[in-house]
Amino acid sequence: MRRVFTAASFLNSPEFARGLDGFRHRVPAQLQSTGISELDALLAGGVPRGALVELCGSVSSGRTGICFSLLAAATKRQEACAYVDVSDSLDPLSLASIGVDLTRLLWIRCGFPGSSNVCKQNQLSFSSKSGQIMMGNTARKPNRTQTWTHPRDQIRGIESALPSSMRHTKDLKIETKGNKTPPVVLSFPKSSGTPSITSRGSNALGKRNAAFSSKPWKRLEQALKATDLLLHSGGWGVVILDLGSIPWTDTCRIELSTWFRFRRTIENTPTVLVLLVEESCAKSCSSLVLHCQRKNENWSRLNSQDQSSGIATLDGFQIEGKILSSRTGLQPMDSARWMTNTLWIDSF
């Protein structure tokens, strides 16, 4: 007898009930311990896996120490971790003293022009025997009417969208090539094209690429691209995107679709993506937003009455972590406090 399929029969079918049971009894998210017992107690076990977690706070609020503890716990379980360092501010000594297995940590240092920019310059400088400039096979020009850009490239050229007051117009050179992807022409890099390097004051120890450092968007572009590549390759336990040194006014201008795309990439995977920021910028894309604030410093002085004696050491400070928002059932505004020690306390 032929069974007639109707909507009513589907609602009463065992297949639908099975799916509904799955919705009702959602599998709780796996949690990754942070390595700090008070924080783990606040978070009911740790940060959720397969989710985007934001650690926000101002400078010296203890958020970097929390990230390092998270890395230590993950590397102890022999998971591979990655740290995307936008401002090149990571201290390997701090990592090692907190207990991170450095061999299992991939450190990506942004803030350098990179080889891709050098190659683009070479396209214009390559010349054939006859001296004509060869720009590639003209018979294979890309489609000019194409308007879709890969999400990974959406951040490119965003500096042109910023108001003039937000830009350093003297150092900025915007290449408005649209969606063209010219072929890579093989040629040897000529001795030109590196941005001018200016030194800070009378610093004779080293020179910073001032032109590049004054453009946080170039570093952000590198960092977001590197994070995208890492998340798509998969297999990472913890990936930390350190935007702690980037002003909030810049990080809030990162498109929300970027965070959404990151969240979707790590969904149903064991990877934890941690954003280290001044203020929350991922909005609803983050599963947990934790705000950190430094409360009290612990100065050990020979003479506790006299704060100006100078013979003292900074032994640490107290941190308060507060949940601002959570998708894992935690109560917002719950907080916890714990003491941290500086590197030379309890040294091994």
Binding site: A73, G99, V185
Partner: protein, 524 residues
């Protein structure tokens, strides 16, 4: 005993066609010699049907019709010979390379000892089919013969196309019908027999043996014995050389990456197929690009060499091509490319035991490509795992290539109290510090001047006083007020006060040698 022979007809042409599969089915002729002495040295069957003959000049051959011309490449022929050897090695370890009758250094034939191979591969017919399939994978179309006598197998492979199976006792009948040109007879002997009216092996075998010895010598006796199906010459096996190299000479210079990758893809495919034939992989790949030189008087070729070192053995051409692409994008050659050579250092493939409880880690092949991509974004030397140096000098570390560590028992203990971290400024920020009673009172850096609310120190560290670069510093930890931007305060959460004081803990130091102050980092 059973012997097999793989013969590649028109070897020079096939050595070219295996790298340019578009030429399959088209008339192809190979030229050699400097003009005006350029002559045809080989042509495939289609070209010969059009009238091309070996020894013709190019001008004569052009009258035969639309022919695809290629210059002879000894390197490509060497690669083809190595590929042929690898094919044979998949079946039997006892292999001998047979020279061409006309050229001493030319091996277009391979002889195999198939004794005992029937247990692995089955009947001789199945072995022959397997060899044909292996040869097709490396781009060669062979003639295969299997006989109880090595020289009979060689003669049959040279004389008959396709697969020939000669049963024991019928060698004379099979070989008899072949012309004398199918044997590797010296040219002089062949001409002598031709003048006598002897053109086939059967006619030569029918001559009286003593008369042949009297006129030609023992060599003639040996050839006559071969024509009768018997030759006691044993197979002399050769140890295979572990050399996996493919090369191609380009007809015109290439100055774009995409066509170069197309060529590299073909060569890598062949290399990886040959590696897999011998159950090998590679951890080091060397790509040599011969460049077009503008200086015509230059005798040595201009080369652009790239070495790819892989952390794990790889035998997939796709991964290698991607890594090569990223490498060439970062290190392009200085001139158009006129020849490409790819060579792989063989190694044992990676063996690992999978488990249910292994820690999570990225796939090694995918990881390597990801690292190369990230490196092309952020620059060389900026991607890797940090490693501390054995030195007390501040910020003494290096960055090693990131390699997945094997799971092991570690002694790391996380039962430690939470610690603060230091965010480093690279390079350190120059600062001006005003002192009061030898204590820091105010600090100015990055166009900001702040009073120091609290401080700790100094802590003196120094080292390497015995070297040419000694270092020494007095370190302080200072508490400094920090101004927050108005926009940030406006968007703060409601429960926090709009104007709250913010301070930061900096690590500053005074260099003892230069007496300059710097801001090293922030405690966070």
């Amino acid at each position: 005993m059973v012997f097999g022979c793989i013969f590649i007809p028109d070897f020079s042409v096939q050595a070219v066609i295996r790298q340019e599969k578009d030429l399959c089915g088209q008339p192809v002729a190979v030229l050699q010699g400097a003009p005006p002495l350029t002559k045809v040295v080989a042509g495939n069957k289609v070209a010969k049907d059009l009238g091309v003959e070996v020894g013709m000049t190019k001008l004569q051959a052009e009258c035969c019709g639309q022919i695809e011309w290629r210059w002879r490449s000894l390197l490509q022929e060497a690669s083809a010979q190595a590929a042929l050897f690898d094919c044979a090695y998949t079946v039997s370890p006892r292999i001998e390379q047979v020279r061409n009758a006309n050229e001493a250094d030319f091996f277009d034939c391979v002889l195999l000892d198939l004794s005992g191979c029937d247990k692995l591969f089955g009947s001789p017919q199945k072995i022959a089919n397997h060899l044909k399939k292996m040869a097709a994978e490396v781009g060669l179309e062979p003639n295969i013969a299997i006989a109880g006598n090595p020289q009979v197998a060689v003669s049959a492979a040279r004389g008959f196309s396709g697969i020939t199976r000669i049963h024991s006792g019928s060698e004379a009948a099979y070989i008899g019908g072949l012309p004398l040109s199918s044997l590797a007879l010296p040219l002089e002997l062949r001409e002598t027999l031709g003048r006598w009216g002897i053109h086939t092996c059967a006619e030569f075998a029918a001559l009286p043996q003593i008369a042949v010895i009297e006129r030609i010598g023992q060599e003639g006796r040996r050839w006559q014995q071969l024509c009768r199906g018997g030759d006691p010459t044993p197979l002399i096996p050769r140890e295979p050389r572990a050399q996996f190299e493919e090369c191609m000479d380009l007809d015109f210079p290439i100055d774009l990456l995409d066509p170069l990758l197309f060529v590299l893809n073909r060569l890598l495919d062949q290399v990886c197929i040959r590696l897999r034939m011998q159950v090998l992989a590679t951890t080091e790949l060397k790509v040599t690009l011969t460049l077009e030189s503008e200086n015509l008087s230059r005798k040595e070729p201009l080369l652009h060499i790239r070495n790819l070192r892989l952390p794990v053995p790889v035998s997939e051409s796709k991964s290698l091509l991607k890594l090569l692409q990223l490498d060439l994008q970062g290190h392009p050659p200085s001139s158009p490319v006129i020849a490409v050579r790819v060579s792989a250092i063989p190694t044992r493939p990676r063996t690992r035991q999978l488990g249910l409880f292994l820690p999570m880690s990225p796939e090694p092949e995918v990881l390597e490509i990801t690292l190369a991509r990230i490196q092309s974004v952020v620059g060389e030397g900026r991607v890797g795992s940090p490693a501390l140096l054995d030195s007390h000098r501040p910020c003494a570390f290096r960055q090693d290539h990131f390699v997945l560590a094997d799971p092991c028992l570690n002694n790391y203990s996380t039962d430690r109290s939470p610690k603060t971290a230091l965010r480093i400024f690279r390079p350190p920020l120059p600062a001006t510090v005003q002192l009061q009673n030898e204590h820091p009172r105010s600090i100015s850096f990055e166009n900001r001047q702040n009073l120091i609310l609290a401080f700790a120190g100094p802590s003196r560290t120094s080292g390497e006083w015995w070297s040419e670069a000694p270092w020494g510093r007095d370190e302080w930890d200072v508490l400094v007020p920090v101004a927050r931007p108005e926009a940030q305060l406006e968007n703060s959460f409601r429960d926090r006060p709009a104007k709250e004081e913010h301070t930061a803990l900096y690590r500053i130091y005074r260099d003892l040698h230069s007496n300059h102050w710097f801001v090293e980092g922030i405690h966070d």
